[in-house]
């Protein structure tokens, strides 16, 4: 592990037929925050420093879909090589170690600050929480220059206050198409994939040839499998690669400067509706009251 430059030896061998890069972000577990704790942090936004991190749920789907893809590929005689990338601080390392234990061959993080400026405080804010352009440049550069990826899979968005544009920007930078709301991926051969996604008028299945970015939406697969302690032990010496953005040709400070829109506050909009609890001795009584008080009139007008 170290902030080394590009490791050319690590460039995947020609053995792998399909190189898949799955990207993820560790986000604060907003569900662990009480409403009262949505206090405004000094820097603007919600104070999330004290909450544990979880895998962004859409990225979690993407990571598991990539594992399943490689298993299906193996059964079909195609070798898929999996890489995982996160633009994140030290607090993403536990996730990278888990992914290595699960069979990801490369696990890389790119610290969100320019080299030397990385905040090494565990749990600290990433500094790139609202800089989709920078994050996308890093991912695209890594996919192209280091991992030589054929496929990039990542969640279609992360959490409250995100831009939802990272997958599109990655695709744009790579000059690849981007499929959104992806729910399933299946390799047919070394260059053909069958992808299920949800379009405006319903679910559809596409067969694709050539590289692309898949932005995973509400997939049925929403949980990453868990490695055993023995898997962890067996792969504990595999390094977690730490690359500086500069090594990928990305100048964080300069790009950051160009991203002029920054969210400075969040507020939830109260859309709760008033509920009425219907009292009654039995389900039958309650149904009758519901019908008499609310439904009868509506039914009659119909």
């Amino acid at each position: 592990m170290g902030m080394g430059g590009l490791n050319t030896e690590a460039i995947p061998s020609q053995m792998s037929d399909l190189r898949v890069l799955a990207c993820f972000k560790a986000t604060p577990d907003f569900e662990a925050l009480r409403e009262a704790d949505w206090a405004t942090a000094a820097a603007g936004g919600v104070e999330t420093r004290y909450v544990r991190r979880v895998l962004n749920c859409f990225d979690e789907s993407a990571l598991e879909l990539a594992l399943r893809l490689s298993e299906t590929a193996a059964r079909r005689g195609v070798r898929a090589e999996l890489g995982a990338l996160s633009v994140g601080g030290r607090d993403v390392e536990p996730y990278l170690k888990t992914l290595v234990a699960l069979g990801y061959e490369r696990a890389t993080r790119v610290p969100p600050e320019a080299a030397g400026g990385e905040s090494e405080v565990a749990g600290g804010e990433s500094g790139l929480d609202f800089a989709p352009g920078v994050v996308a440049s890093i991912i695209a550069a890594y996919a192209q220059r280091v991992a030589h990826s054929d496929l990039v899979v990542l969640g279609w968005r992360s959490g409250p206050g995100d831009s939802g544009t990272v997958p599109f920007r990655v695709a744009e930078a790579l000059g690849w198409p981007c499929l959104t709301q992806v729910t399933e991926v299946e390799p047919l051969s070394d260059d053909r994939l069958r992808v299920a996604c949800v379009a405006d008028d319903g679910p559809l299945r596409l067969t694709l040839r050539g590289p692309c970015v898949l932005a995973v939406g509400n997939a049925v697969v929403s949980h990453l499998r868990v490695p055993t302690l023995k898997d962890r032990l067996a792969r504990r010496h595999r390094p977690i690669e730490v690359l500086a953005a500069a090594d990928l040709g990305v100048d964080i400070a300069a790009q950051r400067h160009r991203e002029t829109c920054l969210p400075t506050g969040f507020e939830t909009i109260d859309r709760s509706r008033r509920g009425v609890v219907i009292e009654g001795q039995s389900p039958h009584d309650k149904a009758q009251t519901l019908f008499d008080s609310r439904l009868r009139d509506i039914m009659e007008t119909l």
Binding site: Y50, A122, S222, V226, L229
Partner: protein
């Protein structure tokens, strides 16, 4: 049993409103297990005998009538309230049982803020009672993680314990009086007094009976003033559990009563505190509460004691406070966890034991090492101590494994029971107790005689005296 399945249903319909006798197949099947075999419910695979009916109890008199009916015909009865049991206490060990569901007996009967006690029926969810007394600036002091879903009857029946136990004690320290119905229909009320020395304390025949002696219909618990504004949180990281146990011991034996005193091992700490700990860190944490002067003095005292352990590094209290505020499990978390298990086949189980200060670390180390060595497919093996006393503490083993190459029904035999077995062996060997707060249920009943030794005579005699026909929750506490 001298009745057919239909005969049981028919008999019940004569005692209660027919609508209160539930025979819906899905509900019956779900009622044949609890969290001990939760995988069966999650995957829809069922192996336990299906009860004849779930009957909703609506009054003490009806409970008495149902029990008399069951006793007369030798029908197994399974008392139930919140349904959050983890040790098989709700499992139907034999076919055609009656599940008596007390969840509709959900009236808060009286909140007596002058005498600082509250009386409620067995089906009152603890959260409901707690919310009601909080409106008066009071608290029950009871806060098990299942507070949003467990009910007062079940909480008393299992000798449950909550997160603030180091200050308020377990449920046995809170119950002042209660009402219970025995299998012969006898309704017994134990009056609410501050203390008495009029013979043995018979509350303890009922508290912790796990539905194997009687049905609890009403309980009265103590109330305490609630001062959340005075809460002080303290957190530390450290590198080994032995030091953690020593620090807990030092706090206890020096006479301090923080409401929360816990130490997490690195595995368990990783689950809760990964945002501020390293891989190999343990976490020691405390909460002091009460009137301002006491909370402040307690926190200062604890801080002073922990300062004598240079291995402990202080962390920002806000980490502990934020974490603590999200510790309880409501239906939303339970459903999410079921879905996670369905997808990953990665199961989380827990087993809690207690022992004196001399043995606790050895039990923890020995059981943990054996489980990792002997049990396949373990993904996390850790735990924490969360309830401390002057003479010892508990260990809450928290572990995850992948269910591999077997169906959901075999999860208990391939993984769960062998793990429980190791924990019980290592605990008994060193003189500890194999059950700290979840109850024996059916899961740990095979070890009950070893747990009790010569005092099993007393326990066994209670069963013979109060349930001579053996109709109360067969297989629970007393192995079949």
């Amino acid at each position: 049993m001298d009745l057919s399945r239909e005969g049981v249903v028919d008999g019940l319909q004569r005692i209660v409103e027919p609508g209160d006798v539930i025979t819906d197949e899905k509900i019956l099947i779900e009622s044949s297990v609890d969290n001990f075999r939760k995988l069966q419910n999650i995957f829809g695979v069922h192996t336990m005998p299906v009860p004849a009916a779930v009957v909703m109890a609506r009054s003490t008199e009806k409970v008495a009538a149902i029990l008399r009916f069951a006793d007369r015909h030798g029908i197994n009865v399974i008392p139930r309230t919140g349904g959050t049991a983890t040790e098989g206490g709700l499992e139907s060990a034999v076919p055609d049982s009656i599940v008596i569901d007390g969840s509709a007996m959900n009236e808060v009967v009286n909140i007596d803020a002058y005498n600082m006690q509250a009386t409620c029926q067995c089906g009152v969810p603890l959260q409901v009672l707690e919310d009601r007394v909080r409106e008066l600036g009071l608290t029950t002091g009871h806060s098990p993680q299942s507070k949003p879903v467990a009910h007062m009857g079940g909480l008393v029946a299992t000798r449950s314990i909550g997160q603030f136990s180091t200050l308020y004690g377990g449920i046995e320290d809170m119950v002042v009086g209660l009402e219970a119905v025995f299998p012969n229909g006898a309704v017994t009320r134990i009056k609410n007094v501050p203390r008495r020395a009029a013979g043995p304390d018979i509350r303890h025949v009922v508290i912790g009976n796990e539905g194997a002696l009687c049905f609890i219909t009403e309980v009265t618990v103590k109330l305490f003033p609630y001062f959340p504004e005075n809460n002080v949180f303290l957190g530390y990281t450290l590198k080994d559990m032995k030091t953690g146990f020593e620090a807990l011991r030092a706090v206890m034996v020096n006479g301090y009563k923080p409401s929360v005193a816990r130490v997490y091992d690195p595995g368990d700490a990783g689950l809760h505190f990964s945002h501020f700990v390293a891989d190999d860190d343990c976490v020691l944490l405390f909460m002091a509460e009460g009137p301002a002067g006491i909370a402040k003095a307690t926190a200062a005292g604890v801080e002073g004691i922990v300062a004598a352990f240079p291995e402990c590094t202080r962390v920002d209290s806000a980490y502990i406070e934020t974490w603590f505020n999200d510790l309880c499990w409501g239906p939303d978390k339970i459903t999410a966890e079921d879905e996670r298990i369905r997808q990953t086949r990665n199961v989380n189980r827990t087993t809690e034991i207690s022992a004196d200060w001399s043995s606790i670390n050895d039990i923890y180390q020995a059981a943990r090492a054996r489980i990792i060595e002997e049990i396949p497919d373990i993904t996390m093996m850790g735990g924490h101590s969360s309830h401390s006393y002057i003479n010892g503490t508990n260990m809450y083993f928290n572990y995850f494994f992948n269910v591999v190459d077997v169906g959901p029904a075999e999860e208990t035999t391939k993984y769960y029971l062998p793990i429980i077995s190791i924990i019980c062996e290592e605990t008994l060997k060193r003189g500890g107790s194999i059950v700290h707060h979840h109850g024996i249920g059916k899961a740990r009943a095979p070890w009950v005689k070893d747990e009790y030794g010569s005092s099993y005579y007393i326990l066994e005699t209670l069963k013979q005296a109060f349930d001579p026909d053996g109709i109360m929750n067969k297989g629970t506490i007393f192995p079949l």
